[in-house]
Amino acid sequence: MIPVEDIVTLLSLSLTSMTPLLLASAGEILTEKSGVVNIGLEGIMILSALTSAIITHYTSNPYLALLISSTIGLATGLLMGYLSSYLHSNQIVVGTGINMLALGVATLALYRLWGEYGGSPSVEKLADLQLPIGNAILTLKPISIVAVVLAVASWYLLEKTTWGLRIRACGENPHSAEAMGVNVYRTRLLLTGVGGFYTGLAGSFLVVNWVGFFSREMTSGRGFVALANVSFSNWNPLTAIVGAFLFGFFEAFATWLSLKVQQLMLPEYLTFLRTSGQSLFKALPYLATLITVVVIMKKVKMPKALGKPYIKE
């Protein structure tokens, strides 16, 4: 039915779409396990993608861009972590604020540097890996491998080390954690920073390893899909790999389908799919994500103290 080339193309696209989702959700799992929910993932992605475009534009060095963008992610994460642990802020409010701030900064910077709102000029990208499968070629992004490695490492940290136990204690019962001798504030601060670092890498990936330029709309809700994936994967970084692949596949499938209808012979009443119907394909991954989460959600167990500010007596 569907030729091998199509399957391989879909697989390449899915793996690419998976990467930013996996990075952001693995980071967010670490953050949420410590008890902080960071709604500002989207904003962090925008800021780091912007930074990547700027750095690569001026230095033509994508590696430097990756490094600096993830540091920007780390810094934003630390800001979020500081506000939500030491200052007991409402985490949803701060996260929303970060998202708004990021969009403002991005627009201002785009206009200042390149005189337009639309997007940055094209920049240098990292090379893809090409793996031949039969007649077809599977394109694999180097950062995708990094993402999987980081997810596995995060799982090991959380589930197999004393550090992981301490982190989980902060998210389940901060009072007991404090009694155990864990500094809850510092742990939450650091873990929100680490989550920001991962998300920064995700934002940078969008620019230096995928699209090759920056635009304000490029993150298109990926930060929130990552949040959906966190609950989908039941706060387990290994399951998050599967979840990210699934959500990545939805996105890839919608893209692939919208291109496919341009080539196929369509009956008269379906020709709208080539014009105004293209918007429907864009809506598809969000709906599929939502439905998946709705079906699976009842069975998961979130950290007990998630999102609640911890107030020391």
Binding site: L87, T96, G97, M100, G104, L227, S276, S279, V293
Partner: protein, 359 residues
């Protein structure tokens, strides 16, 4: 007429007895606005704009943003609604980030009904109902499937943005102007009232009425009391015999209605037609969150903050035409206001730290 002075006296007494609380809220809000203006100026300087440019920008922004009261109030009306859409569920302890999507369906439902019936009241009701249905959906997912309402709302917002675009482009466009929809018939438009010094858009009155009705509901009725208790302490509310689930559903339905009505007044009272890129709709829902937080979670405060933020946005357009700066400077200011508003604890924290240091 004898009853009225009594109510007014009571109101003043109420305000007087809470003077300290209101004063503190006002102080926090003013400080966060000031802080945000300073940080934004700093960011602009960091980006290489000359340091006095931000001062010039602010003076243009504040002088031009607030000088046309008629325009200001009409711009503020949909924002008041989307802010209330965030506010009412948040009083019950829920976050309605879905105001954006609820606004889209409200606007489209109103436009369709206005086109077919030419009746503004029916169109308003349709907009409110469409928003309410979508709000209820979020509440049902949260209550019965334990799906985080923020994540669900964002997915729905993005999906609806694209679906609405499709619906507008496919079914509603004006054949002679393909990028615009057909116009709301004159009979269904919300009228302008000429008060001499002000051409008041009826939309603003509708928004004001919604805010006052909400204040009454939440602070003067049993249902509103139950909702607030359930938001502050779900356990206590359950023990008191209130049904938390039903209260959540009700507050989300109310929030959705508000955002839907926001879409209605936007279509019926202000823009009268939509465009295929949804430029006239996009962003009101998100901005409503900021307006609600700046209004210190108080329906009347929300009216004031929505007017203030609309002034900033209008001012932002002026700095674009006057100074060639992007109007998104206004978005930046609003984002930083929101972040700094979230830290009322900073003040207490600093006080505590200072105390410890003194010892």
């Amino acid at each position: 007429m004898s009853g009225k002075p009594g109510i007014l006296e009571k109101l003043f007494e109420n305000i007087a007895s809470r003077r300290r609380e209101y004063g503190l809220a006002l102080l926090e809000v003013s400080l966060s606005i000031l802080l945000s203006l300073i940080i934004t100026a700093f960011i602009m300087i960091l980006m290489g704009y000359s340091s006095d440019l931000s001062l010039v920008a602010y003076s243009v922004m504040f002088s031009k943003g607030f000088d046309n009261a008629s325009y200001l109030l009409s711009r503020a009306s949909p924002l008041i609604f989307t802010a209330l859409a965030f506010l009412y569920p948040s009083l019950t302890g829920l976050f309605n980030i879905g105001g954006e999507g609820q606004l889209y369906v409200g606007a489209i439902a109103s436009l369709i009904i206005a086109l077919y019936t030419g009746n503004s009241l029916l169109a308003l009701i349709a907009g409110g109902l469409a928003g309410a249905a979508l709000g209820m959906l979020l509440a049902v997912l949260r209550v019965y499937r334990n799906v985080n309402e923020v994540v669900a709302a964002i997915m729905i917002n993005w999906a609806l943005f694209n679906i609405s675009m499709f619906a507008i482009a496919t079914y509603l466009t004006d054949p002679s102007i393909p990028h615009l929809t057909r116009q709301v018939p004159d009979t269904a438009k919300l009228p302008l009232m000429d008060l001499g010094f002000l051409r008041l858009n009826t939309s603003f009155l509708v928004a004001l009425a919604a805010a006052i009705a909400g204040a009454f509901l939440f602070y003067r009725t049993r249902l509103g009391f139950a909702m607030r208790v359930s938001g502050l302490n779900p356990l206590a509310s359950m023990i008191a015999g209130f049904e938390n689930r039903k209260l959540m559903l009700a507050s989300f339905a109310l929030g959705g209605t508000m955002a839907g009505l926001g879409g209605s007044v936007l279509v019926l009272g202000i823009v009268h037609r939509l465009d295929t890129m949804m430029m006239s709709l996009y962003g009101y829902g998100f901005l409503g969150i900021g307006a609600s937080l700046l209004g210190r979670n108080n329906p009347i405060g929300v009216v004031v903050s929505s007017i203030f933020l609309s002034g900033l946005l209008i001012g932002g357009q002026w700095i674009e035409t006057r100074l060639g700066l992007p109007h998104q400077v206004a978005d930046l200011i609003i984002g930083i206001i929101v972040i700094s508003l979230a830290i009322p604890f900073a003040y207490h924290y600093m006080k505590a730290v200072l105390k410890v240091r003194r010892k």
